[in-house]
Each structure stands twice: as C-alpha cells, then as structure tokens.
Symmetry: C2
Subunit: 353 residues, 2 copies
C-alpha cells in the first residue's frame, strides 16, 4: 500500500500529467496532497535510503567484479569453463534468495506476499529475461566476425541509449529534456573514457556489424527493462521470491548452455576443472552483483542501474591505478568529466521535472 502511495505521489508531481487548470481545485488537492505527504515522509525517506544502499552496492560490486577480472588475467590464464561458472552464479543467487526467504518465514511467517508457490500467470514472465540474455550471449560469438574485442567494448555503450529508449517506450516513464541530454552525454562520456589509440578502428565496422551491435544492445536493454517491469508489477511481492523465480530460470538456461557448448569438456575434465580461489571469488562477487541488480530494478530503475554501472567503470579504472599501476589517459579524464556532468544534470533534471 505504502509503495503504491509513493508511486502515485510521484505521478502527481509530474507536470505533464497535470491537466487540472482550476486553481481552487488545485489548492484543494494541494492540501490533501500535503497531508498525504506528511504521512508518507518517513516511508519516502526509508525508500530513498533503500534505493541509495542498493545503488551503492551495485556500483561497488560491479567495480570489484571488473577488478577481479583484471586480477585473474594477471595471475595467469585459467582453463575453466565459463558456462559452468555462469551456472554456479545462478545457483548461488538462487540459494541466497532461498536463505533470505527462510529467515523471513521464520520471523514473519508465510504470507501471500512471501510464499514461494505461485500461479502460472505470475511465473510465466520470469523465463523471458533469462531467454533474452541467452540469445544475446549466443549472438556475442557471431559479432566478433565483424568487430574486434576492443571495438565491441566501445559498441557496448550503445546499451545506454537502448536502455533509455526502451525504458521510455515500454515502461512509459518520462525523462525530462535535461535527463535525455544527460543520457546521451553518459554514453559519449563512457565511450570517451575508454578511448585508446586503436579505437578509431570501430569506425570501419561494416553495416552488418553495426546492425548486430544495435540488435544486441536492444536485446540487453529489453531484458533489463522487462526485468524492471516484472519486479514492479507486483510491488507487494517479496523481492526474494521474485529473485528466486528469475534465478531458477537463469539456472535452467545456463544448464542448457553447458549442454550445448561445454558438454564434452565437462564430461572429460570434470565440472570444476580449472577452478581456483579467484574463480570462486569471482562467482561469489558476480552472484552478489546480480542480486544487487534485481534490487535496483525493484527499488530504483534501469536508469539508476545504467548510471551505477557507468560510474563503476570509472571507479575501476581509478582503483586500477593503485592496484596495477595503470596510467590514466587524457581521454579518461575528459570522459570522467562528461560522466560527472551527466550525473549532475540527471539529478538537476529530476528536480526540475
């Protein structure tokens, strides 16, 4: 109930939805509104706190994930199978959701909102994000016929734009003019921060490569936006139950991926072949950041997610200077400036909406 109240308040504050021209009527609503505001202030505050915590968690976990990848590459090449690792990530997320649920059941008892059993109508949408990610991951093998790996890193910034566009179209949420400008700047800033002497090669990408990159960014954007729609459709439903169902299908699709891609290797060398402490650490980190993504989808939105992961990318580079003696380029400073201004403008655009 409280969540819905806050949502309605948000709507009321949107001038685009405001069609009442009568001033007296407006004044009356303002009084009612203010009373609702006083009642909702503490909820609003705890909502804001939750939103900040999950966003911060996502930023730190995404950043440390990238650092673990650098670290593992430095430590030498590991011959583990990526599909088994992905499967373990989904399994761990599933287990953590169940553990959280068990605690809640113990404390609060089983209610309509936190019971695991569900209807077909509720559960039928949960496989869709996992399926979209699977398709995207399969396409990933083909795009390297058109673009090299650093070029693909650059093109992946198209995800920012596709997420914004799909967020607007599918979730029908409005961004102000300033926020749109900020979003385009976020994309330009992230790309600038990643520029290096070979980046210009991406301009020679063929039409096929561009189409594939755009399709992939749309798939990934759609998966994100669809997950948000699922999480927010039932605001009262416990997030751990929603996560459980998301991750169960994630496990299933990754099991299929093992069968398709690495079946022989797993049979011959064993499931855990090539695993090391750092791989385990990466799996744990990946699982935690996956849960953080779900939380951001539930309590914040895709726009916040994109900003969090973009800031994480910059954070990673700065931390790498101290950890690995990386040098920051002028392009990185310029890109970081643009991203910082984008974050500032986004918050400014929120106030002025």
């Amino acid at each position: 109930m409280d969540y819905r109240k806050i949502k309605d308040r948000d709507k009321d504050e949107d001038p685009a939805d405001d069609h009442s021209d009568n001033l007296q009527e407006k004044a009356h609503f303002a009084v009612v509104d203010n009373m609702a505001l006083l009642a909702g202030i503490s909820n609003n505050k705890s909502q804001w706190k939750l939103k900040s915590i999950v966003t911060l968690a996502l930023t730190i976990l995404t950043s440390s994930q990238a650092i673990l990848i650098f670290w593992s590459k430095r430590a030498g090449k590991y011959e583990y199978s990526v599909t088994t690792a992905n499967f373990l990530v989904e399994t761990l997320k599933c287990a953590l959701s169940l553990a959280a649920l068990a605690r809640i059941w113990n404390n609060e008892g089983v209610t309509d909102d936190n019971r695991l059993s569900t209807t077909l109508e509720e559960v039928i949408v949960y496989p869709i994000p996992a399926a979209l990610y699977l398709i995207k991951n399969l396409l990933q093998y083909y795009i390297f016929a058109y673009v090299d790996a650093p070029g693909y890193q650059i093109l992946k910034n198209l995800n920012i734009i596709s997420t914004g566009v799909l967020y607007r179209i599918i979730l029908k949420k409005k961004l102000s003019e300033i926020q749109w400008a900020a979003f385009i700047l976020l994309c330009a800033g992230c790309t600038t921060a990643q520029l290096n002497s070979n980046s210009d090669r991406v301009l020679q990408t063929s039409i096929h490569g561009w189409v594939m990159a755009i399709v992939m960014s749309l798939l990934s954007g759609f998966a994100g936006v669809y997950t948000e729609a699922i999480m927010k459709k039932r605001p009262q439903r416990n997030v751990n139950v929603q996560n459980f169902w998301l991750y169960v299908f994630g496990m299933t699709f990754n099991a299929v991926a093992i069968l398709i891609q690495d079946f022989d290797e797993v049979v011959n060398k064993g499931f855990f072949h090539g695993y090391s402490y750092i791989i385990v650490l990466m799996i744990v980190n990946h699982a935690l950041s996956g849960i953080a993504v779900s939380m951001v989808m539930k309590y914040a939105d895709n726009i916040v997610k994109v900003y969090a992961t973009s800031v994480a990318m910059l954070l990673t580079a700065v931390v790498s200077v101290f950890l690995f003696g990386f040098h920051l380029s002028l392009a990185f400073f310029l890109g970081s400036t643009v991203v910082s201004m984008s974050v500032y403008l986004h918050s400014l655009g929120k106030l002025q909406r």
Copy 2:
C-alpha cells in the same frame, strides 16, 4: 533608449533579481510589463536578429580562417612576418570602421553617438584589451619551453572555463546551474574532439607549464570580458566608433611588436616580404572576423563568442574532410556530440533561468 529598455526587461525577467513577494504588486507590474513588452517586441525581435547574424558571421569567419591556415600550410611554407600581418589586420579593421562611419555620417549626419571625437574618460579604457593580448602573445613564446604545440592547442581550451569564470565575476552576469554544466561540457567536448594519439603528453606538463597556461587563459579571458564591458558601457555609442578606438590601439601595439620582434627582417627584406594572395586573403578574413567579435561583444556576449568559436572549430574539421580528405576520428564524433549537447543545454538553461 530602446536598447536600455530591452536591457531592463532582461533584468526583470531574471528571477534572481525579483525580490517583490506581494502578489498584487506583482500583478500590477505584470500589466505594466506586458504593455512594455508589446511596445518592445519588435525591438526585441530585431535585437535577436542582429545577435543571430553577428554570431553566424563569427562562426563562419572563424571556421574559414582555420581553413585558410590549413590551405596556406598545404600550399607550402610562407616566409612572411606574422607581426606585419597582425598590424595590417588592425589597420584594415580600422579602415573598415571608418568607412562604415563615413556612410553613417552621410545618411544620418554627425550626432553625439556617432562622432569620432571623444573624452579622455571614454578613450582611456580602449588600450587595455590590446595591451592584454600583447602580453599574452609575448608569453606564448615562453610557454613552448614547457609544452609542445599540440599540447598548447589542448591547453588553450582552458580559455573556455576562464572566460566563464571572469564573465561571472567581472560582468556580474549569472549563468544557471545547467549553463555552468554546459560550459564545463563545452570545454571537455572541444578537448575531446581534438584528441589524437599524442595528446596524453599534455598530462606530463610541469607545474610551471600549467601555471603559465592558466595565466594565459586568464589574460585572454580577461581581455574578452573587458572588451564586452567597454562595448556595453555606452550602449548608445555607435559600434563603429568603439571599434575604431579599439583598433587604433591595436595598430599601435602591433607596431610596437614589429619593432621588438621583426625590425631587422622588415628593414632588410621589406614590409611585404613573403606575402602572397593567400596571405592577403587570410588578413582580410582575420579583419572581418575581428569585427564580428566586436559586434558579438556589443550585441551578444562572451559566452556566445565562446560557443560560436567552438562550433566553428568543429565546422572546420567537417569542411576539411571534403576539402583536404581529412579523416574524422571517433574522438571527434564523441567531442562533437558533447559540444552539441552543451549548446542544447545552454539554450535550455536560458529558458529555465
């Protein structure tokens, strides 16, 4: 009189200057204001038209200036002396201002606003911008001890920030939060568009180099802001008279520069040694763009000037693709995107002020 009226209206529209809280008083003023608005609308429109024309002229002339420089470099090295060329630019500007004045005197007769004779109190400020530019140009020889030429091109973008800061401090004009963000983005965008594989060397600039670059950008920013203050202090004074006095001192200081730097060469080889058609074209173009700068100072402001010259820089690069077969880099596209967003946000910030 009309100009002052428009200026006062501008002030009225600035919410920061609005201290009247009484609604009735406000309503009364609104009626008076609307009447003044109706009377001023045609003036406002012609003011806006003039502002657009001088801004467009500055953009095109600055852009073609850069193209002429490319062209002259391509055509081979010219052994002309830069100081004599600068002197001729000032002389031509002076002559053009006098020609424009002669026409006005013929049509309208000599008035208090368009007569050339002046008081010491009016004329005493005119040498200051020329003196500042002279100091800046002399410092330019020393900065190359600390920074290479491409590095200096990058550092010159600090002018954008210094102009904004001095515009705020000296002219006491306010920029909105969005406009400040847009200004920082303009600086980052212009620098990004100029990035190349050697740009990172600028990060190794010593503290001395940085201090000199900052001092030079402050000098150049101060000269610009001071010129605007001179031009706007007497709104009724004919712009050609103001230009005449500015350029007379420009000629004087450039004559001094010839004596200091190129005296021997001029005596031995002659004043016009090494001149060619393209040098003459460059001098004419430079003179016209100098007049456009004065006009922008009079009818628009330093912020518009900075935007116009930044957009001109991007325009030059695009035109060079067709003229000289240049290749545009990914950094150029990203920088152009950031500059475009900056222009958009600046105009958005104007509306929302």
